[in-house]
């Protein structure tokens, strides 16, 4: 077991290196000189040159063979990509081009908004998806089963940005019950402790702010929860049906146990393994930022931020945000794999 975990941990290193490489290449290959982008179109040639030197943009991309030929081993490794890696190790993601504040700082403020939304959506998805899956598996081939399966297929087929628009249309425009976007109404302040507004307003006892925050988050959370709910329900159902065909279930049935006991005591435990996996992967996807949902609901998370920065050509943000998202994705997948090995002793990896 521990050998498997160590091997799996080591296998993350080349993946992460590859991720940094791809992100680095994207920024360098995108048309336009970053130095000009930093200074604006009207910068003088001297200033551009100065910025290039300051940020090492005049250095070669990966390895400097000219420096090495002159006997300079340090200069050989003093290149853009390796400098970039060095900065990453020091958690320095650079400054935003337009607002000139450190990317890492803004990420730390923006990311909790995404976490909050993702966690709430996942909670909704689990609370709805698993019971629905269990119900339709235990009443297989009934009207209920058929309806939920078609329903979940519709859920998977739904463009969430459109669903979000429909929610806004119904609840914000026609019924006017809920706000159509943002995280808090203007004028309402919450003391920032964790930057999770729901949590912060609760522990500071700020009930009006909590209600306001909840009103803002519920529509995007529902929209975002649609696909995970559908996937979790389908997975729960098919996994339970798989387990119900096992011998030990037949034994339990044969010795006359109530159907309810067989389902909840015997079948569920084993059926939950693939469900947990799918929950993990979906959580990774949600944490990775829901660009579309965040855009529609003006939710100040990282997805919308990265997207806005792509349009504004603010590449340090794109680079930093994408890197964070990719790392979260890789780490969540790693945790899912490891938890799988821990939870299911039958699985042995060589």
């Amino acid at each position: 077991m521990s050998r498997y975990i160590i091997r799996r941990l080591i296998s993350v290193i080349p993946t992460l290196l590859g991720v940094t490489f791809v992100i680095f290449m994207f920024q360098r290959l995108i048309p336009g000189d970053p130095a000009v982008a930093m200074l604006g179109e009207h910068a003088t040639e001297e200033n551009v040159q100065r910025i290039r030197e300051q940020f090492g943009l005049n250095r070669p991309l990966f390895l400097d063979r000219d420096a090495l030929a002159n006997g300079d081993l340090r200069g050989f490794f003093d290149t853009q990509y390796l400098r970039y890696l060095g900065r990453l190790v020091r958690l320095d993601l650079g400054n935003s081009i337009h607002r000139r504040i450190p990317v890492a700082e803004t990420l730390a403020i923006r990311f909790p908004a995404t976490i909050e939304l993702a966690l709430l959506s996942m909670t909704i998805a689990i609370l709805v998806g698993i019971p629905v899956g269990i119900a339709s598996a235990s009443r297989r081939n009934t009207l209920l089963d058929g309806t939920t399966m078609i329903g979940s297929l519709v859920g998977v087929s739904m463009p969430i940005f459109w669903l979000g628009l429909m929610e806004i249309m119904l609840f914000s425009v026609f019924l006017q019950w809920l706000p159509s976007g943002g995280r808090l109404s203007t004028g309402i302040e919450v003391e920032a402790i964790t930057n999770l507004v729901l949590f912060d307003s609760l522990i500071t006892g700020n009930i009006p702010a909590f209600i306001d925050a909840f009103k803002h988050i519920i529509l995007p959370a529902l929209a975002l929860a649609t696909i995970p709910t559908a996937i979790i329900a389908r997975m729960t159902r098919s996994s339970i049906l798989d387990v119900l065909q096992e011998d030990y279930i037949r034994t339990a049935n044969a010795k006359g146990l109530a159907e309810r006991v067989v389902l909840f005591r015997h079948a569920l435990k084993n059926a939950f393994l693939p469900v947990i996996t799918i929950i993990g992967i979906q959580t990774g996807t949600l944490l990775a930022g829901a660009v579309l949902t965040e855009t529609i609901f003006s939710w100040p998370g990282i997805g919308k931020w990265v997207y806005d920065s792509i349009l504004a050509r603010d590449y340090p943000i794109v680079q930093g945000g994408t890197l964070l998202i990719a790392i979260i994705f890789v780490v969540v997948n790693l945790l899912v794999d490891i938890s799988y090995a821990v939870l299911d002793p039958r699985i042995r990896y060589d």
Binding site: T15, G18, R65, V173, S238, V291, L292, T322, V330
Partner: protein
């Protein structure tokens, strides 16, 4: 006692039973399922209307503009004000949404087919190669090719540093040598040491011609190359490289990677197709690899091997046809996913270039008017997306049941 004929007791005479192929069987299962039939009907309506509109219903998006009809709600019959019926209403430029929705189908269909073809072709080829060589012993010639390629790839770094293309070729030759002397008598550790030494010599001697420092670095790198090619790598190594590469693509969330690729290539429907296609490659590679891994242990593959068929022939004739069903299922579902992704890109303004009709960009154009009550401009293109995607998903679900009876639940 009366004589009993086989007909009377309903015995099936297997010798004269009607011949049914695997695919015909699957087809029968498919059309007997309600959901699959529904899916087929939806897909057919979608494909037919899109194709018909593209070829026979003339529409020039560039000249379609009428401010007097701006944001009119749907009207089923001509009125005094509005001469023509607009079943889905009109958008902010007074364009008929029904017409644009039907025409938009052609673009979605195109994106779906092209994107899925890109990811399916590259993914399946990579997946078959990876899975096949992971489970098969590779032949002598294949091993030479693999080692030469690895040595060339690694050696070219040293050659690039020293500006001596010839060095890469020397390393390549060293790779071939490592296969020829695979069963070195003195044992593995000695073999590794010898190859490391040869590597140092290859890198350092030619590096000396440039400068001592270059010789040092090239020598160190050469030692590493020597150690790697002395390891007698096999198909497992090749498969690992391919799959790690797929992992890197998979470690980006699909939407974000597609957006990044489009940001890099520039907006446009064709760029979107490429982006969505590239993002989808790992799914097919993983699927094909795992299917090949299970197929390659089957008796018919062993039989083909034992009669001496070449690896490429086994892959094409025996392995590929037997992994087709999961790939067909995935491709159908993939069409649905590609249409969704294309709509998402279009919505963000990174898809089709206006005024080209495309469902996602139609939504992106109109959603700002939702607060002023223009629901029709958002509802209908969205419904078109939902129904076409649902159609492909239903069909894919039915195909899964039809093609793979084992997976039926």
């Amino acid at each position: 006692m009366a004589e009993i004929t086989p007909d009377e007791i309903g015995v099936v005479d297997f010798a004269v039973r009607e011949h049914r192929s695997l695919w015909l069987d699957a087809w029968r299962r498919l059309v007997s399922s309600n959901t699959a039939r529904l899916g087929m009907v939806v897909v057919m309506i979608f494909v037919f209307s899109a194709t018909y509109a593209h070829f026979f219903w003339v529409y020039d998006a560039k000249t379609d503009l009428d401010y007097s009809l701006k944001l009119k709600p749907p009207n089923l019959f001509p009125t005094e004000e509005i001469a023509e019926p607009h079943y889905f209403g009109t958008d902010k430029l007074g364009r008929d949404i029904f017409r644009r929705t039907v025409h938009g189908g052609w673009n979605s269909l195109r994106v779906g087919i092209v994107a899925v073809s890109i990811s399916m072709f590259i993914g399946v080829v990579l997946g078959i190669l990876a899975g096949f060589y992971e489970s098969m012993r590779i032949t002598y010639m294949e091993k030479i090719v693999l080692m030469v390629l690895i040595a060339l790839a690694l050696g070219s770094l040293s050659a690039w540093i020293a500006r001596q293309p010839i060095q890469a070729l020397l390393f390549g030759a060293l790779g071939a040598v490592s296969v020829i002397f695979e069963n070195f008598q003195k044992g593995k550790p000695i073999r590794t040491v010898i190859f490391a030494l040869v590597g140092i010599l290859l890198g350092a001697i030619s590096g000396m011609l440039v400068s001592p420092m270059v010789a040092l670095v090239c020598g160190a790198w050469g030692a590493l190359v020597g150690v790697v090619i002395s390891l007698s790598l096999g198909g497992k190594f090749f498969s690992n490289i391919v799959m790690r590469f797929m992992d890197i693509i998979l470690s980006f969330p699909a939407y974000l990677l597609a957006i990044a690729i489009v940001a890099f290539l520039g907006p446009g429907l064709e760029k979107g197709m490429i982006a969505i296609g590239v993002v989808g490659i790992p799914v097919y590679a993983r699927l094909a690899r795992s299917a090949v891994l299970s197929v390659s242990q089957k008796e018919y593959v062993l039989a083909a091997q034992s009669v001496g068929e070449s690896h490429s022939r086994i892959m094409v004739r025996h392995v590929f046809p037997n992994i087709l069903s999961p790939i067909i299922i995935q491709a159908t579902m993939g069409l649905a996913a590609a249409i969704l992704s294309a709509a998402a890109l279009g919505f963000l303004g990174l898809g089709a270039i206006p005024p080209e009709p495309e469902w996602g960009s139609m939504l992106g154009d109109s959603y700002k008017y939702l607060s002023s009550g223009a629901w029709w401009a958002v509802v209908f293109p969205g419904l078109a997306i939902v129904f076409s995607v649902l159609g492909f998903n239903l069909l894919g679900d039915g195909l899964r049941d039809a093609l793979d009876p084992k997976m039926r639940v």
